[in-house]
């Protein structure tokens, strides 16, 4: 027998959020870990069924906010009290209450940039090519259908057994291979 062409994984299509949740649960119970669900909107509970680790996005945002606040305050202190001290109405050079608004704004700015760029970075976006797009019906994942893909790199993956498992979950049509 010739070596089969390597594939990314096997994919099943479902109609409802209940089905994708049940299918993910069943696949997880069968020991699969390297898999992903693709849905047209965020289905609550999928992250738990997939056993995803806690996201690092909040930590990235916290660090961004602290950097923004500290950097913003330092910039104002450095400019107004150190580099070019300017006497305005006899007020102290290090007039901290007047520095609070810009400190706050820069905290929000850097934290927001961290939230969005951090989300993109952790999601590895932009990623124009991905094997799942090779599945002809996958355009429905952004519209009205729910897909579960078990990846070939999973240690439990077996071309026959995995297909049988997915097929037993009553997907729409047949389970399809996801080619590279």
């Amino acid at each position: 027998m010739t070596q089969p062409r390597p594939i990314y994984g096997l994919m099943a299509e479902f109609k409802t959020p209940e089905q994708i949740l049940a299918a993910t649960q069943a696949a997880h119970a069968a020991g699969y870990r390297r898999m992903d669900a693709y849905t047209p909107y965020p289905v609550e509970g999928l992250a738990e069924e997939l056993d995803l680790p806690r996201t690092r996005v909040p930590m990235v945002v916290l660090i961004g906010g602290l950097v923004g606040a500290a950097g913003g305050y330092f910039m104002q202190w450095w400019a107004a009290a150190h580099d070019y001290p300017l006497n305005v109405g006899g007020r102290p050079y290090h007039s901290w209450p007047a520095f609070i608004p810009i400190t706050f704004e820069l905290m929000v700015l850097v934290a927001a940039l961290a939230a969005i760029l951090g989300m993109f970075f952790l999601n590895k976006l932009p990623e124009p090519y991905h094997p799942v797009f090779n599945v002809p019906r996958f355009d429905r994942a952004s519209q009205d259908r729910f897909f579960l893909c078990i990846e070939a790199t999973d240690s439990h993956f077996d071309a026959v057994a995995t297909r049988a498992l997915l097929q037993s979950l009553q997907p729409v049509g047949d389970v399809v291979e996801v080619p590279y």
Partner: protein, 468 residues
Amino acid sequence: MATEAPLPTTEARPDHLPSDEPSYLAPGHSFRTVTDKISSIVLARPTPAAWLICFAINLALLMLLAYAVVYLLVRGVGIWGINIPVAWGFAITNFVWWIGIGHAGTLISAILLLLHQKWRTSINRLAEAMTIFAVMCAGLYPLLHLGRPWFFYWLAPYPDTMGLWPQFRSALVWDVFAVGTYFTVSLLFWYMGMIPDLATLRDRARSRFAQIGYGILAMGWRGSARHWYRFETAYLLLGGLATPLVVSVHSVVSADFAIAVLPGWHETVFPPYFVAGAIFSGFAMVLALCIPLRFFYGLQDFITDNHLDAMAKVLLATGFLTSYGYFIEQFMAWYGTNPYERSVYTNRAFGDYAGIYWTLIFCNAVAIQILWFKRMRRSPLVLLFVSYLVLLGMWLERFMIITSSLHRDFLPSSWGVFRPTFWDYATFAGTIGLFFVLLLVFLRLLPMISISEMRALLPGTHAHEEGR
């Protein structure tokens, strides 16, 4: 389509929903119909004639703006009616008015997100777009008002060869940071929320050009559960960041006035009074946009009468907060016994600008009282009329605060009256054109309602938005 499974539709309302909760989506919709209806506005349906007419009118106004700005750059700010004592005139009035309008967009997208208000879903995309375009219009005015707009970059803190820094103790510099942050965060929030919808458009587009264009903007979004998990976390955090931001922005704008010692400006009530007024005028603009849009595009299923009702209630509540500001200003002037303060407030009500004062009191405090009646809150025509009155009233309020305070300060020898010129009006009309041109282009090219969030709004969908 008959062959499609009729899964989950709004007819099958789950039992745990209280029956008296208003519905924010007409019955009979499914994932497919929601997707079809919103994306077809951009991808399939022909450009409506009303769109073309509006675009032509507003493009003409935009050309007027270009003309007015070029003339301003050639001749200087003297073409406007501003002079001493009223040096701020229309430019700053328009700045405060436009930026206030933007605030409703952030309130809808961020604060109502945190409060789990379902009715935000069908209007948040449009309201966020309104925010971005309004802030663009607002940002033009302080720049043009600088006198030498080509040196605008002196406002940025960068190590220049002159060895100078911006004056960080000045409220005007705070403004640069507040408005800059506000614009950046609003734009990113808007774009990020749109990525799943851009993927939908990419997958539904027929023409190669549209597929590639939306494909680039969608960044390869594939709806992975891992991606959604981080996306939702980031989106919620952005909502949490934008909420204090929106309050801070108009507070900083009010500090432009409140920090000064001028009677009529030097008020501790200004930050909350300005923020309430901003949301008030912004909701009026959201209504003024939503009502014609749902009519012309037939979106009554998504922007329901219940939405109008909810927005009208916000309008009424923020109108009262703003009216409280008018009342407490007058009260403190009387109670504080400062003769300059008293004179300014007497002058507002009975002086050169009395007509403006009483018109704005009518628009902002009296006209909204009709919204106590449920039938009026659900009547698009009444709401449209009230929202126009509020937009006018809020513009007059900003004008009143700036002009009536400046035109008579401490020294009678330096009193004067502000008279706007043709160029003042032309620039204002021009930014209205700019706003609507941007908005119309947005309506034509991008989904005006968040498709992915509308899908989640269907009952039985296991999403955060569902069934609350």
